[in-house]
Symmetry: D2
Subunit: 325 residues, 4 copies
C-alpha cells in the first residue's frame, strides 16, 4: 500500500523504514531536508512539502502525521484537510490529547475525510521489534489501512499465547487493536503511559530502598551493600516483577550501578498528566499514577516553595532551625 | 506541689517556669549547669545531679523527664528507677515512642513505681499559652499529680465552648486529658504530630500552587501574581481553613513572601514516622499522612537514586536524554 | 448601596440578609418564589425575574449571581449581559471555574460591563460570622462595590493581629481581598478548598488511627480505647493543630463518637478537582491534596474494578483466593 | 545432594518435587500426614517429625523450612536448632522479616549452625518455570548448598541476555543470587514484593480508568466502551509496559472482562508492610509503594471511620448532607 508520512524524527523515520521493508510504498516529508534524503536512500519517495506528498499519492490517499502533539500536529492536520478530499484519511500517529482527536474527527467528517488516531508504543525499538498500536477512528478507514498496521505491528513473535482467549479476532495478539471511535486510540495509549509512569516509579522506589540500605545512617548490623545489577538480573528470571522495563533497568545497572551519567531531573509528557485529568473526570482514585507524576515534577526542583513554607511553620511553632544537609 | 524536672531545654525550662508562676515548687537538673542557674534565678531549686533532685523531694516523689526521645530518656528513666522507691512517679514528658512507655511502665510497676507519659504540645509558645497535654499511665499517679497538669494547661481561655458536650469531665476543655494506660498519652500525641504534618503539607502545597500561578511557563492570560501574605491573612477570617498553623504562616509571609531565609530542607522527627508505622499495624489507609512524611524525606535530597533510575529507563526505551533544568 | 442578588439558596439568602442588616439595599430573585417572599420579609425587594431585578436598580447597577457553577451561572450571566449596559457590573459569587471567569470577563469587557468573581468561604456560618472573600475582576468595579464587601466580611473581630505585617492595606485583615484580574478570586478560593480537603483528610486519617487502636486485631497490651471526643477537645487548646475544622470535629464527636448518622460516602465538588488540574498545569507536586481528593472518590465505591484486578493477579501468580471480610 | 524440607504447602511441596526431578534427595515433613504421603509418591523420603527428618540426613545436614512467617517458622527454627549440630545449616525459605533472620543467625552462629534465608519468588508457577531466589546468610553454607539453588532456579531459559553485563558471576542470570549476610535475601525479596504491589496497583488504576470511560456519568461523546481483554493483549506485544503481571492480567480478562468472580477485597502480607517500614527507617520517599499498600487496606473496608468524619465536618461547616450512592 501507499502511505504519506509527515515528520521523520525517531518514530516517523523508522515507521517509514519498517513499512518499506514490508513492501509498502511511502512518500515522506520533513521540514528538515536531510531527514527526507536519508529516507529516500532507504527507498521512500521524498517530497518537498505537504502538497508534494499529497500529489504523489493515489486516491483514496492516507497521510500519517508523526509530529509533536499540540501546535505542530494541529497545524499540519489543518493544512492536510485543505489538500485532501472526501475518501482520504489523515492518521495522527503522535501523542495527541484524545479530546483533540474527537474534535478534529468531527471537523474532518464534514468534509468526508476519515480520521485515524494511533497510539504508538515501541520507542527506539520499534523498527526492530515492531510497534504496539492502539487505533481509534473511522472503522472503514481502519479496515482499508489494516495492511499497514499489520506490517508495523510486532506480530505473534515468540510470546506465549494467552490462555483462555476465546475470541476470533486475533489482531491484538499480533500487536495492533482497533479501539473504537476517534480519540479512543490515543486514550488507550495515554493510559498506557500513565501505567508506565507508575511501574517505573515502583521500580525506582524499590531500588532506592535497596540502595539506601547501605547508608551509614543505619546501624551497622542493619546495613546491606547489595549488588543492584545482580538484583535486577535475578528478578528477570522467574520473579513476579519481570518485565521489559526491568530488562532495561538491568541493562542500565550492568553498565553502571551508580547511574552516574544521569542527574535525575525527569521529564514528563502530556499523557502522564492527561491520565490524571481523565481519572479526575471519571472520579477514579489513582494514587499511584498521580504519585508517579508528582515525583517527576519534584525531581526537577531543588526545593519547592512549599518546602520553605514547612520550615517557616516549624520555626514559628517550635523555634526549629533548619539543619544543613 | 513539688516536682523534679530533668532537662531544661526549650520545653523543660518553660515547664518549670510556668509551674513556679502557678505556685508549685520545682527541683531542676540539666547536664548544662548554666541552664540550672537560669532556672534558679526564676525560683526553681537547682540540683547538681539526679540524686540531688531525688534527695530534695518529699515522698511520694514525682520526677518529670524532658529529654530527647531514645537513649537520653531511656538512660535517665533507668537511673531514676534506681533512685526512686515504691509510691514515687516518673513522668516522661518528651516525645518517646509509645511502645517504649508500655515496656518501661511494666518494668517500673514491678518496683511499685508509677509511670506517666505526657504528650506535650505547645512548643515555644507554651510558657505563655499553656501546654496541651495528653497523659497516659497509672490512674492513681495522674490523680495525685493533677494540680501540676492543671497549672501547665491553657485552661478554658477565650475559646468558645464546644456545642453538644454532655460530659461532666471538663479536663479536656481546660487543656489536659487522661488518655488511659501507659503509652496512650504519647500515642495520642504521636497521632497529633502525624496530623500536623498532613495539615502543614496541605497548606504548603496550596501556597505552592498559588505561587507558581505567576510562572512564566503558563500562558500570559492565565497568570496571576498574588500577594500571598494577604491571602494567608484573609483566610484567617471566616474561612473554613483558619487555624493556628495558618496564623503562623501569615506571620512568616508578612515578614517575607519569598521565605528566603529558609532553604526548604525540612526535618522530621519520630512521631511522624511512628504514625505511619501505627497505621500500617492497624491496616488503616493514611495516604495524606504518609505523603506529608515523604515530602520531608524528599526535601532533604537534591535528587534521589530513584530519579536517576527513571531517567535511565527513559533513555533505555525512548532514547530520551535529560533536559538541563 | 444597592445590589441585585440572583439565587437565594443557603449562601445567597444569607448574603442578602447580612447586607440588609448593614444598611444596604438588596433586590432579589430566585426561581423559587417562596425564597423571594422569605427575603422580602427580611427587608429585601423581591423581583419576579432577572429583568425585574435590573429594572429596580439605579445605574451603575451591580448584580450578584449566587448559583451553582456551570450551566446555571453561565446562562444567568449571559442573560444579564443582555439586560445590563456599559458601566454595570456582574458579580459571580459562586464556585465557578476560574477559566470561565477569564473568558466571561473578556466577553463582557467588549460591552463595557465589569465582571467580578468572588470566592466566598463561610458556609452556613457566614450570616453570623461574616464571609471571607477573595475578589478578582476589574479594579474600578471592586473600588465602587467595596462597601458591600466590607459589610459582608467578618471584620477584625477578636482575632489577634498578625505580627510583622507592615502593609498599609488592611482589607485582608478585615476579611476580604482584591486578588487581581478576573478569575483570580475564584482561583484563590479554589486553592482554599483544595487545602481544605487536605486538612480534613489529615484529621480523618489521624482519628482513624486513634479509633482503630482499640481493634481486637491488635495484641491486647497494645490496644487503647480512647475517648475521641475528649481528644478533639483537648487539641483545641494550645495544640499546634487547633483550627476551626477541629472545632467542628469536636462538636460532631461530642454528639456521637461513632458518627453513626454518617455513612461515609463523601461528595467532592469542582474546586477540589480543579486544584489538582491547576497543580498539574503548573507542574507543582501535590500528593496530599490529590490523595485527599482520591479518598473521596474511593469513599463512594464499595469496591473498584481495580481492586478486583488485584485479586485476579494474585490468583494468577500465587493461587491466592480472596478471604471473606 | 540431600535436603530436609519442613512444610509441604504449595511452595514447599513443589520445591521438593523440583529437586527430586533434578536428581536430589529430599526428606520431607509436614504436620499433615497426607502431604507427606503425596510427596513420598513423588520420590521423597517421608518423615513423621522433625527429629525423623534430621535422623535421615547425613552430616553436614541442611533443612529447608517452608512455613508461614512468624510463630510457625520461629518455633520450627528453634526446634531444629536443638536437633542439629555445628556444621549443619537451617534454611528459611519463607517470607520472614529480615530482622528476624539477623537475630536468628546470630543465635545459631553461637552453636556453629549456619543460617540461610531465601527469598523465593515464583508462586504456583515455580515447579514448572523454576524459582527466582535471593539468598542471604553464611557464604560457606551458600557455597555448599549451591547445587540445590541451581536446580531450583529457572536457569538461562529463553530470556535474552542483558547487554553490558561484564561480570564473571552468572548466577543471577541463572535465577539465583547470593545477596550477602543473613537477612539480605529476605530483604531483597521484601522489596521485590513492595515493587510488585506498586506495579499491580499501577495496572489496576490504569484499567480502572479505561473501564470507567464507558460510564454514563460522562458526556456521551466522551465515552469509549473498550474491550479490556484486547487492550491487555495488545500491550503484551512491543509496548513499554509488557510484563509477566500483564500476561496474567490478559489471561484473567480473557476469561471474564468483568472479573466478576472477585469481590475486590485484597489481602496484603508482611513484605508489603515491611517495605514501607524499611523506607521510613532509611528516609526514602516511597509514595507509590505506600499508596499501593493503602489501596489494599482500603479495599477491605466498605467505609472508614475517617470517611464518616469527613462527612461530619462537611455537615458542620456547610450543612452538606450525604448523597445516597
Amino acid at each position: 500500500m501507499q502511505l504519506g508520512i509527515i515528520g521523520l524524527g525517531r518514530m516517523g523515520g523508522n515507521i517509514a523504514r519498517r513499512l518499506q521493508r514490508h513492501g509498502h510504498e511511502t512518500v515522506v516529508y520533513d521540514h528538515n531536508p536531510e531527514a527526507v534524503q536519508d529516507l529516500a536512500k532507504d527507498g521512500s519517495t521524498g517530497a518537498s512539502d505537504l502538497a508534494g506528498v499529497v500529489a504523489s499519492l493515489t486516491k483514496p490517499r492516507a497521510v500519517w502525521v508523526m509530529l509533536p502533539a499540540g501546535d505542530p500536529t494541529e497545524q499540519t492536520v489543518a493544512a492536510l484537510a485543505d489538500l485532501l478530499e472526501a475518501g482520504d484519511t489523515i492518521i495522527d500517529g503522535g501523542n495527541s490529547f484524545y479530546k483533540d482527536d474527537i474534535r478534529r474527527a468531527m471537523g474532518l467528517a464534514k468534509k468526508g475525510i476519515d480520521y485515524i488516531d494511533v497510539g504508538t508504543s515501541g520507542g527506539v525499538w520499534g523498527l526492530e521489534r515492531g510497534y504496539c498500536m492502539m487505533i481509534g477512528g473511522t472503522a472503514q478507514a481502519f479496515d482499508r489501512l489494516e495492511p499497514l498496521f499489520d506490517a508495523l505491528a510486532p506480530g505473534y513473535g515468540s510470546i506465549p499465547r494467552t490462555p483462555n482467549r476465546k475470541v476470533a479476532d486475533d489482531r491484538s495478539e499480533r500487536g495492533y487493536l482497533y479501539t473504537g471511535p476517534a480519540g479512543s486510540g490515543h486514550f488507550v495509549k495515554m493510559v498506557h503511559n500513565g501505567i508506565e509512569y507508575g511501574m517505573m516509579q515502583a521500580y525506582a522506589e524499590g531500588f532506592d530502598i535497596l540502595k539506601m540500605k547501605a547508608s551509614p545512617h543505619l546501624p551497622e548490623e542493619q546495613r546491606f551493600d547489595l549488588n543492584l545489577a545482580d538484583v535486577a538480573e535475578v528478578w528477570r528470571r522467574g520473579s513476579v516483577i519481570s518485565s521489559w522495563l526491568l530488562d532495561l533497568t538491568a541493562s542500565a545497572l550492568a553498565e553502571d550501578q551508580e547511574l552516574a551519567r544521569y542527574t535525575g531531573a525527569v521529564s514528563d509528557s502530556g499523557e502522564g498528566r492527561w491520565t490524571i485529568q481523565a481519572a479526575i473526570e471519571e472520579a477514579v482514585p489513582t494514587p499511584v499514577l498521580a504519585s508517579a507524576l508528582f515525583a517527576r515534577f519534584r525531581s526537577r526542583q531543588e526545593h519547592t516553595y512549599g518546602d520553605r513554607m514547612l520550615s517557616a511553620m516549624r520555626y514559628g511553632f517550635g523555634g526549629h532551625v533548619e539543619v544543613p544537609q
